[in-house]
């Protein structure tokens, strides 16, 4: 019976249909690669939740109302949800209340927000160029957005090799003197995710998508970068702090000397483990929390899956608790700075020092909070960042009190004392 086994199918040959470069329609690619396509489509309907992640679109603002305060004056205080699978990108980006679509509004949302949401982008970037793409408004771009994320965001048609498709990533690597064409296959299994799972900001009136990596991708290097160009996303109400918002820095966090990264493990090893279809083996394209299929995601390397999943629980709980403490400290600081700022006699120099610490402290907290593994991607690094963030927040509060010459500003535990917790802004 060993003879009449299905032959080991080589998933890469032979192509049934020719795929043209940057083909946006994943269904066409899918004819050549049914396994990858069928698993990819599962990302549409996943809705299982895990303790801190998973694929259910719950509201982070309702889960943790502290974030309503921390993002006050910024669209994230209105609507900020748990992310879902790759095929939901268009639905979700178009549904978020964070968008400002009123034509002519100086803050009107740009097409930049589509950068990481569609397989139509590679072709459009080639046609319009990065700046041309981003210069358009969100509304102007919408008609071009026919497909969510798809094969073309990660693969080169024909060869199927992994490639950098986002020009901003290409630029960011160049700024560090790196050329992704020289990367190994194993490196690409991580770098391909950096097309999107990275911290970013927008440059100039054309809102050109840029990654703040010129000094490197470690937290202190990114903070320095923003300090040097004096960038800020919004001004915090009452404190007048020029704030920074962090966004899903999975790549920066994971590659900052984490256990797994140092050991040569790639994003795809855990999030796209190999699965068997009869005799054929292929990478699951149903990308989601590895805690939903740990036998596959971790079991290939860890013989005792229950042990490692138990570790994840411990690591995440510890990070979660430390993260909440940082939030409480920042809220205490904000309240003090607001009081000091409204005090005409307050010492301006000390007040500015307080603001600068508030700015850094909240960005460092956000860098952890906006990262989506609740600490697992790099536990020690992340706990260190939270320790620093809390320390800075406390010092910011002290400076505010000194500025106002008023020790009454040193009240702590303000959030816990609130009778009613804040609801998402309108």
């Amino acid at each position: 019976f060993l003879k009449n086994q299905p032959p080991q199918s080589r998933t890469t040959t032979p192509p049934i249909v020719e795929i043209k470069p940057m083909e946006p329609n994943s269904a066409l690619w899918g004819q050549n690669f049914p396994n990858q396509w069928s698993t990819f489509q599962k990302t549409k309907d996943n809705n299982i939740r895990t303790t801190y992640g998973g694929s259910e679109k719950f509201s982070h603002l309702l889960e943790d109302p502290r974030q309503v305060i921390l993002f006050a004056g910024y669209p994230f205080s209105k609507d900020y949800n748990e992310e879902r699978g790759h095929m939901n990108t268009l639905i979700d980006v178009q549904a978020t209340k964070r968008l400002i679509l009123k034509p002519g509004d100086p803050k009107e949302t740009h097409a930049t927000c589509y950068s990481c949401k569609s397989s139509d982008n590679p072709a459009l970037w080639q046609k319009l160029g990065l700046e041309g793409f981003d210069a358009m408004t969100f509304t102007e771009m919408t008609p071009n957005m026919k497909n969510p994320i798809g094969c073309a965001n990660c693969h080169e048609a024909g060869t199927m090799r992994l490639i950098v498709t986002n020009p901003s990533l290409d630029n960011a690597l160049k700024a560090q003197g790196k050329d992704w064409h020289t990367f190994t296959r194993q490196e690409m299994r991580t770098v391909v995710c950096a097309n999107c799972h990275v911290e970013y900001y927008m440059v100039g009136d054309h809102k050109v998508l840029t990654f703040p990596w010129a000094n490197g991708t470690r937290i202190d290097q990114i903070v320095d970068y923003y300090e040097n160009i004096k960038f800020s996303d919004w001004t915090y109400p009452g404190t007048n702090t020029p704030m920074l918002k962090a966004q899903h820095p999975e790549y920066e966090m994971y590659t900052a000397g984490s256990t797994h990264y140092m050991a040569g493990v790639a994003c795809a090893d855990c999030h796209m483990p190999y699965v068997k279809d009869g005799a054929a083996k292929f990478s699951s394209h149903d990308v989601h929390s590895p805690l939903l299929n740990p036998e596959l995601a971790c079991g290939q390397c860890h013989t005792d899956t229950d042990y490692v999943v138990g570790r994840v629980k411990e690591i995440q709980e510890q990070v979660f608790n430390t993260k909440i403490q940082a939030e409480d400290a920042i809220i205490d600081a904000i309240t003090a700075i607001q009081a000091a700022a409204s005090n005409p006699k307050a010492d301006a120099k000390l007040l500015d020092q307080a603001r600068s610490l508030h700015r850094k402290s909240q960005f460092m907290w956000d860098f952890v909070s906006a990262e989506n593994s609740m600490g697992f991607h790099n536990p020690e690094y992340i706990l260190k960042i939270l320790a620093d963030s809390t320390n800075m927040a406390r010092q910011a509060q002290m400076l505010a009190s000194q500025a106002a010459g008023d020790p009454k500003l040193l009240q702590t535990g303000i959030y816990d004392d609130m009778e009613t917790k804040p609801a998402p802004a309108q």
Binding site: A263, D269, C301
Partner: protein, 162 residues
């Protein structure tokens, strides 16, 4: 009573052995050639990793995976596990991750000690039982790195990069 049990056991053994040989139709399975185990791609990664680990020169699969205290238990086990493997495989029930069963681990441990007695008897001896697996520490000795591997076991074909 026990007499009947023994007879029953032997009977079962005989039948299963017969069945095993018949189903596989390959007397080769009575042998000890690791390549035979590898006829089955379910065994690919173990074969691969065994081939590249320290034991390949000296030690075949069955040296570790079948009891060697006496021929009877050897053939009983060979029939039992062999039947099991073939059954699970040919009925397409191959699990996501193949793991050694508890009694398999005991068999293996006994074999480690059988061959390495002179090395380990001082540390295995003692007032309390030696209550851990050799491969808790020698995690790479049999099938490549264990718990620390950075190369998923099961895809030597698709994933030769490391």
């Amino acid at each position: 009573m026990t007499k009947y049990l023994v007879i029953a056991a032997l009977a079962v053994a005989a039948i299963s052995l017969g069945l095993f040989v018949y189903v596989t139709g390959a007397p080769a399975y009575a042998g000890t050639d690791p390549a035979t185990c590898n006829n089955c791609h379910a065994m690919d990664s173990q074969y691969e990793n065994w081939y590249h680990a320290g034991h390949a020169q000296e030690t075949t699969c069955v040296e570790c995976h079948l009891p060697h205290d006496n021929p009877i238990s050897y053939w009983l086990a060979k029939g039992k596990t062999g039947m099991h493997d073939v059954y699970v495989f040919s009925t397409g029930q191959t699990p996501v991750m193949i793991r050694a069963k508890e009694d398999t681990k005991q068999t293996i441990q006994a074999n480690c000690i059988r061959c390495h007695q002179s090395t380990v008897e001082d540390v295995v001896a003692g007032a309390q039982p030696f209550d851990r697996h050799c491969w808790d520490c020698h995690r790479s000795v049999a099938h490549g790195a264990r718990g620390i591997s950075i190369v998923p076991y099961q895809d030597a074909v698709l994933y030769p990069s490391k």
